[in-house]
Point group: C2
DNA sequence: ACTTCGGTTATGGCA
DNA sequence: TGCCATAGCCGAAGT
């Protein structure tokens, strides 16, 4: 359709007259798509209430929710199709998420050092740290942040946890991919980083190698 | 269409057989939508190369890019429509973004204290701080983090900037909305927070005062 | 190419 | 409900 759009709520946006595709889903979610890209230009969440109105001789679609509203002015409607999709979507199965890594590491903590696993999602005053371990030699506490890809934020995160931990502890980042600048930043802050290979699903596992960085 | 999807790249996902809507755009972007929600279940960015193949008697759509690939197995195709959209999309105009707030505050710094504006996006060793100002009474440096909605991360952010700033300075958060726990956290770390009303767009504004620095 | 950061981020989980 | 942290986050801008 050829349309212009006005959104007001968490922010305010305007979309000038042009050809676009508008999708309205079963749960009331709306999205306005341009001819390019993955993300919709405008959209509205599942709770939206749809009101089909007119302004002069133009069709105006209004979507309202608690604190937001979206107004699509339809200048020309080229085509309108409806398709039943059903609500038994099996859903997306993700593999190798951070949670998976965390689970794996809690069972294979020796892969990243001479460590003993203590706790997972261990509470600190700055929030829960992914893994709490102990150095078998020194007996020191080690707090580990697990990431698929570790960027600078991982360093800041682990520093907060160290600050909020009851004892003084050593910080460590374990990830499939530790970005170059993150390595330098971690070193600078005395935080150990370890890259591990993507762990295979349980039944396929044989061996893993690891690359380690020190400060 | 009725399809199942396999993605491998930045992560790995599986999507079991069900009815969905697949959108292929001008620039090569693909998205697989379920009947609910805003975000696509699977997708692939603009650079994707499309190969239309077969596996047995089933159509298989493969999308490849540098380090990713998406495979859609089509079990049944209900309908296929093509629509020309054109590439002169005027684009989304955002209003009241953080950048706008920053701009406004740099011109109206007196709204949040007896301050004198010094610099915007002022560099520190921890990255550029939104606004650098000076306390007119004490002469102390004040570093300000501007947000639409300020959550705990704003506190940590400003602390990093204070750490990376050349002089000792006072930290401040200015936002349309400072979340309750963020207020407490800011207080705890000695960081001032100020909530402001959403500034009106430039053309509606009646007057602004400007502060000029003397050398 | 890599990094950083905003976003109407969305989404899920937990207190 | 609010808050936190993840996400294949996306997308844009700067280096």
């Amino acid at each position: 359709m050829n349309c212009s759009v006005r959104y007001s709520g968490r922010g305010d946006t305007t979309l000038d007259k042009y050809d676009r595709v508008v999708i309205i889903k079963n749960d009331g979610a709306v999205s306005v798509h341009s001819g390019d890209g993955i993300k919709p230009l405008n959209y509205m969440g599942p709770k939206a209430v749809f009101k089909d109105t007119h302004e002069g001789d133009e069709r105006v679609m209004i979507f309202d929710s608690a604190r937001e509203n979206l107004k699509i002015t339809v200048h020309q409607l080229y085509e309108e199709i409806t398709w039943e999709v059903g609500d038994e979507e099996p859903g997306l199965q993700r593999d190798g998420t951070e949670a998976d890594l965390q689970e794996w590491l809690s069972q294979n903590i020796e892969q990243v050092g001479n460590l003993e696993f203590v706790n997972r999602e261990h509470p600190t005053s700055a929030g829960p740290v992914d893994i709490y371990a102990r150095d078998k030699e020194t007996g020191d506490d080690v707090l580990i942040e697990v990431k698929r890809v570790a960027s600078s934020s991982a360093v800041y995160q682990i520093r907060r946890y160290l600050e909020g931990h009851e004892n003084s502890a050593h910080g460590m980042i374990v990830a499939l991919d530790v970005r170059p600048r993150t390595r330098k930043l971690a070193d600078k802050h005395g935080i150990t980083w370890v890259e591990i290979d993507k762990p295979k699903p349980a039944e396929e596992r044989v061996e893993t190698t690891s690359v380690e960085g020190e400060c």
